[in-house]
Amino acid sequence: MAGIKIKNVSKTYQNTNERVPKRIHIFKKKIKENTRNVQVIDKINLDIKDGSFTVLVGPSGCGKSTMLRMIAGLEDITEGEVWVGDKLVNHMSPGDRNISMVFQNYALYPTMTVRQNIEFSLENIKVPKVERDRMVKDVAETVGLMEYLDTKPGKLSGGQRQRVALARAIVKRPDVYIFDEPLSNLDAKLRAEMRTELIQMHEKLKTTFIYVTHDQVEAMSMADEIVLMNRGEIMQIGSPVDIYNDPKNIFVAQFMGTPSMNVMPIGELINRLEPHFQHVSYFGFRPEKGILLGRSILHSYEIEIASKILTREILGAETIYKIENKYGVQNIKTTETHYSLGEEVNLCLSLDSLYYFDHDEQRVYADKTVLEAGIS
């Protein structure tokens, strides 16, 4: 077991010798424009607690996989330090770091049987045959692969292959587990199942888990701590609840949650803010905080905006309406299903459900008292 400390880590691809991986497409432009070097990670500091389930999340190309690969030792570190427990691992080869990794494409050895796949690492550190057999058997029982031990991975289903990958990771008894989008190749149902299993596995092993995904649902549902990244920088670190309820900027606010937060230019709403909040440029609210009411209904919401229903998606338990008003187009999530297309409604919001951002898209904290009461 070990925590991980990342100190001032940067990653720059020198265009001459190292090839920039295809996945980092966002930054590729930079090569042509000014320099031959491409920076994908910019001076990141991160402290991953021992035994935590930390999820690195962000859009594709944000540098999260590069971070993971630097921790695993599969990618050189241009600058800074990576510590696993009390060991500085910058120059340690991947095999010496005692880290297990589960890959998106499983990365099983196709010509070996399940048993050989699992015991390959044990073989390499010269664990005696008897001991090896016992360990393989134990772990195969845990993940439910006993009957497939002599099968080759090609004959297994996606879920079974992922189990082999898990078994291969567990059998090493590593200090840290690293998961690189391990569930992306599975269908929705299996993904949900595996999610639960991974959470249980973490409970049982109590080892540090670092998990990379671009899927915010996975991040929200599994993490103790979420590290949200964009363009090679950390946008926010926090528990899922913190990140959802207290986003520090528009990127975080809009990345988490489906549909994402409605963010609009503040418009005339600014007249209702106190003078020292005049630098607010945007306001936002979560789709589930918007309430749709018929035009004629009386109520006591602080904000009321005349709107029109554009589209309606009925998802079963809830319905998502796309509405249009003077602030633009917004999504509203509600349990009401009876509004029809084109219907005129009022969008009602309470002031404490609003978020404010300045023109750099950073959060501005305003409490209710700074806002004048009144109805627009």
Partner: protein, 272 residues
Amino acid sequence: MSNLKKILTRIGLVAVIIFFAFPFVWLVSSSVKTVAETLSIPPTLVPENFQWNNFVSAWNSGPFLQFLINSILVTFGVLVLQVITVVPAAYAFARYEFTGKKILWAITLITLMIPLQLIFLPVFLQLSSWGILDSLWGLILPFASGAFGIFMLRQTFMQVPNEILDAARLDKASELKIVWKIMMPLSKPTIITMLLFTFISRWNDYFWPLVMTTTENARTLPVGVAMLRTSETGVDWNIVMAANVILVIPILIVYFFAQKRIIQAFTYTGVK
């Protein structure tokens, strides 16, 4: 319409088969004729009397056992050395970034384009200065590596997903182990094809042994067979053909067993 197309395709295919197979059928047929029948007009495709004895005569008309042993030693020597040199070279070209990689790769490819006839003289002089003319080493060493093999195997190695190598590195496997336990088993069809091509080209090679050897000590089967033609008593075509059949049999046997792998190598689309 589609039926007509099918029929035409079939006719075309049969024509191609006849075109390619006829010389071989003619070879086999002539190898069991009498001398007179090989030259008779009109020619016969099926011999009147099968002269199985031709094979024995061919075998006894020179030190063929020695030729055969030389052929086997040369061919297998080259095969072993090629595996030793080609696999690591292909792995390095496919998986490593190093200074001068592009230039080295270009040089490797250029060797594919230069005909042997152009460079045999300097190589001959080189081998002569080493004192290995008219020896098996002179036939083996110039072919100890091959650009074609490196090229083919590099392509296959490049298809192996990076994650598999990453996983192996995290599993603490050495590079040698990665090549031996992961890359080579994954590239089996290509390696077999490469070895088969080398086998055929070495086994059938006439030019190089002809240039490099002066005595029976190092001559191989193709040179031996060709020597039958220059015998002073005139050419016994039936004997020459019988010797050719003997020459070609090992290749047919090897092809028969490796056929499936060869097709795999050319239709190989990656690892799932």
